[in-house]
């Protein structure tokens, strides 16, 4: 404690040791201020914020420099939603004593969140607007405004009280009761809320004594209300649960509803999911099939190309080989030439080699040199072998062996195309063996090739016979 006059520390003496002023009354004032602060602190601890505010104000009236009381008063204001008043007290406190002052921390914490500062400022403005609307008679608009305020700051005691008053005026006693309860949760000693509570309870038929367990049965005889302090218990009467058939019916209905929900909601969803999965799998298979088809098409193309290539190569090979094979044909021709120049071999040997060479090869596939040599040999030995073949063939014809006759007479005609007799008997051999068409062809050839032959008339006669 310091002297109020000179600022020197005071002792237990009734006078200031520095300036000698009588400090007895001053000390009493300071003690009284401290007592008020202690009372305010006690009340604040039990949430009697109205009482705490009163005591702390008393303390500050006695001792304006009581930093703790001013800080606590700011806290009380802040807790009840009076943010600006709280800031005011903290700023004054900081100006009185700037060192080791909790007010510094409170101000910094508040100002650190700018959005909260804006919200608090808006809350205060909206409350003032709501109060103005209520005083102007616009109760509904005021209620709306106050609800907004309380949504932003649920601890705003004045707003709760004003809203409770408006609900009370409108006859909504239950709502008024709720707002009053909220006020008392924040500030248990709020005189205004306690007064309103008495009035609302009277309208609701609730006894004043909060500690009693009074029972009040409302107009609805199915329930009873028990109030104990701030708690309200509503117990239904005659609420025996239904037993027997009714219970089973209710259970059955519940099961049916559950089945219906499952059938109409759950099952379609599961079916849809399964269908989608199946479709996805089907799509995947389809893609696989497409890939395989593409591969198959490609392979088929390649096979076709290979087959064509094979045909081409086969044709090329056939060109070289001929019907008897080109290599064999050359060998046979060489063998025939060797037999021709060999004095130990006769024309028959040469003819045998030449007969091994196919006529189609000689005509279509042989080279010019091949054909020249073949023709030379054939012409040179033709006459001698032709006669032998003719005689043998005619012998077979006379004996009725037409097959051999055809073979030998064909060779006879091949080696000697001027032999009309060989051609005639060849035709007859075909005729006798049943090949009428070939016989006809041969006879026509005879008529055309040998028009002056003595066999022409006989040939025409045979043709007439064959035509029948």
């Amino acid at each position: 404690m310091i002297c109020f006059r000179c600022g020197a520390p005071l002792s237990e003496s009734d006078f200031c040791n520095a300036c000698g002023v009588d400090v007895r009354r001053y000390k009493k004032i300071v003690y009284a201020a401290n007592s008020c602060y202690n009372d305010g602190l006690e009340r604040a601890c039990v949430r009697d914020l109205s009482g705490a505010e009163h005591s702390l104000k008393q303390c500050l009236k006695l001792n304006k420099n009581h930093i703790e009381a001013r800080n606590l008063l700011g806290l009380v204001y802040f807790e009840t939603g009076e943010t600006a008043a709280a800031l005011t007290q903290w700023v004054i406190s900081k100006n009185i004593s700037g060192t080791n002052n909790l007010a510094d921390e409170y101000i910094d914490r508040f100002q650190s969140n700018q959005s909260r500062v804006e919200t608090m400022s808006t809350t205060l403005k909206k409350f003032n607007k709501g109060l103005e609307l209520a005083q102007g008679g616009s109760f509904d608009l005021s209620i709306i405004q106050l609800r907004k305020v309380l949504s932003m700051n649920p601890k705003y005691v004045q707003a709760h009280n004003l809203l409770a008053l408006l609900y009370f005026e409108r006859g909504d006693f239950e709502k008024a009761r709720r707002e009053i309860d909220r006020t008392l949760d924040i500030d248990r000693g709020n005189i205004t809320a306690l007064r309103y509570l008495n009035e609302v309870n009277a309208h609701l038929g609730i006894p004043d004594d909060k500690n009693s367990k009074g029972i009040r049965i409302f107009d609805n005889p199915s329930a009873q209300v028990i109030r104990s302090g701030n708690e309200t218990l509503i117990q239904p009467l005659n609420d025996r649960e239904p037993l027997g058939l009714g219970a089973f019916i209710q259970i059955g209905l519940g099961v049916l509803i559950g089945l219906a929900i499952t059938y109409f909601l759950v099952v379609p969803a599961k079916e849809r999911a399964a269908q989608e999965a199946a479709n996805a799998e089907l799509y995947a298979y389809g893609e696989t099939i497409d890939e395989k088809n593409a591969t198959i098409s490609e392979l088929e193309s390649r096979v076709s190309a290979l087959e064509q290539n094979n045909i081409t190569l086969s044709d090329s090979l056939a060109q070289y080989e001929g019907s008897n094979g080109a290599v064999d044909a050359n060998n046979y021709l060489i063998s025939a030439a060797m037999a021709y120049i060999d004095p130990n071999q006769d024309a028959t040997q040469v003819s045998e080699y030449l007969e091994l060479i196919g006529d189609d090869y000689v005509e279509t596939s042989s080279s010019y040199e091949f054909k020249e040599l073949y023709t030379y040999l054939l012409n040179d030995i033709g006459d001698s072998v032709a006669q032998n073949y003719y005689d043998t063939g005619l012998s077979y014809f006379n004996n009725g062996d037409y097959t051999l006759a055809i073979s030998y007479l064909s060779k006879a005609y091949m080696y000697n195309a001027n032999n009309d007799n060989a051609l005639y008997y060849l035709a007859m051999s075909y005729y006798e063996s049943g090949d009428i068409s070939t016989a006809t062809d041969k006879l026509n050839t005879l008529i055309e090739s040998f028009p002056t032959s003595s066999l022409v008339d006989k040939a025409r006669q045979r043709l007439d016979e064959m035509s029948y």
Binding site: F4, R5, C19, G20, V21, D22, R25, Y26, I29, V30, A32, A33, L60, K61, L62, N63, K64, N65, G81, E82, T83, A84, A85, L87, T88, V91, I92, V117, M120, S121, L124, K125, F127, N128, L131, E132, A134, Q135, Q158, N161, L162, L165, F168, E169, T192, R195, Y196, E199
Partner: protein, 53 residues
């Protein structure tokens, strides 16, 4: 019985943050100690202000 109009008059607008500076300046900081000091000064007005030894 609650008289709505009378109760409504008991509600006052809250101090807004923009007005807190003015409220600080307007704050009456006189306490009991100041009053006591004033009384003592009045008492000493007819006497010397220096303490007697």
């Amino acid at each position: 019985m609650i008289n709505f109009e009378e109760e409504l008059k008991r509600f006052f607008p809250s101090l807004e943050i923009e007005d807190s500076e003015e409220a600080i300046y307007r704050q009456d900081m006189t306490d009991a100690a100041d009053l006591l000091l004033g009384v003592i000064r009045e008492d000493y007005a007819g006497y010397s202000e220096t303490p007697t030894e």
